[in-house]
């Protein structure tokens, strides 16, 4: 295999060379669209491959450049922009639904979590809100925690 060939023997593609990274940038904001993010991305890092999608962006490029771009993009709406790594570069025929048909594996996970990110945004905003200090100290509830023996004894004695 030559150095120019991508993994798997195909032609060289952006994102499959070692040292490059691909990240998803999800936006769930009433004030910011994926197109706004893409425009800002091109301004900040012209050398990075940016793919605009319905949920945000997929960005591919040298790892350091991607990290810098992510930090800058987050500033547009820090509480409503979410970022995660992706293994495959955008459009990769091993994963892209244009070639495989149907929903991309991983879509259902993103669909599920994108319904919940509004609560995460609330949580991130609350970190800066002194009125929420009590709530921040409270531990998450565990709905399926088993009833302790002590608590059961107390209930029996009270009844």
């Amino acid at each position: 295999m030559t150095g120019k060939a991508g993994a798997g023997g195909g032609p060289a593609r952006p994102g499959v060379q070692p040292g490059t990274a691909t990240k998803y940038v999800f936006v769930d904001s009433p004030e910011l669209t994926a197109a706004d993010l893409a425009l800002r991305g091109y301004e900040l890092a012209p050398g990075v491959q940016i793919k605009e999608t319905c949920f945000g962006l997929m960005i591919t490029g040298p790892e350091a450049e991607i990290e810098r771009l992510v930090e800058e993009l987050r500033l547009l709406d820090p509480d409503r922009i979410f970022v995660k790594d992706r293994g495959f570069p955008p459009g990769d025929e091993r994963r892209c639904r244009a070639n495989l048909g149907g929903a991309r594996p991983g879509f259902y996970g993103h669909e599920h979590e994108m319904r919940l990110v509004r609560y995460i945004s609330s949580g991130l905003r609350a970190l800066r809100d002194p009125k929420k200090a009590d709530l921040l100290r409270a531990k998450p509830k565990h709905h399926d925690e088993p009833l302790s023996v002590e608590r059961l004894n107390t209930i029996i004695q009270e009844s």
């Binding site: 594996p105 259902y108 949580g123 970190l127 998450p140």
Partner: protein
């Protein structure tokens, strides 16, 4: 900066929060990326070869299905590498086309057996739960070496 294993490994929320608070999330994408970027002729296009289930033997017995061992060849090294872990307990999305239930059980078992700090949570379904969820993760991550405030 600590390496934090996230479960489910594909979680957008966990991946974002861990990197936002100054640590490195260890998830499926990183191990898949390593495979994708490693040039080879053995088993294109995904470069999953018969060697991978053998690597998985370090984490699962030989009678365990090869699918579990293959997955463990991706997750196992990350669990060994992790300094801490965050587990979402009600992550139904980690089963189905996203992954394998037996592998998920094994991943959670191995994380607990390692004795590293583990935070277990459930997904938030209201603003109040969201505040608690984020606060718990921030508190947990700030207790790890090299943590940064948001």
């Amino acid at each position: 900066m600590a390496k934090v294993f996230i479960y489910p490994g594909t979680s957008l929320i966990l991946s974002d929060l861990v990197s936002r608070f100054g640590h490195r999330p260890l998830g499926s994408a990183l191990s898949v990326r390593e495979k994708v970027q490693t040039a080879g002729l053995d088993s294109p296009p995904l470069q999953i070869t018969s060697e991978d289930p053998k690597k998985g033997l370090r984490f699962a017995a030989v009678e365990v299905p090869s699918g579990v061992r293959g997955r463990m060849s991706l997750f196992g090294p990350q669990i060994e590498e992790a300094d801490a872990g965050i587990i979402i307990q009600d992550a139904d999305l980690a089963f189905g086309c996203m992954g394998c239930a037996r592998t998920n059980e094994l991943v959670r078992f191995l994380l607990h057996r390692r004795g590293i700090p583990i935070l277990e949570l459930t997904y938030p379904h209201s603003d109040e739960e969201g505040v608690r969820f984020v606060a718990a993760i921030r508190e947990f991550l700030s207790s790890l070496a090299g943590g940064a405030s948001a």
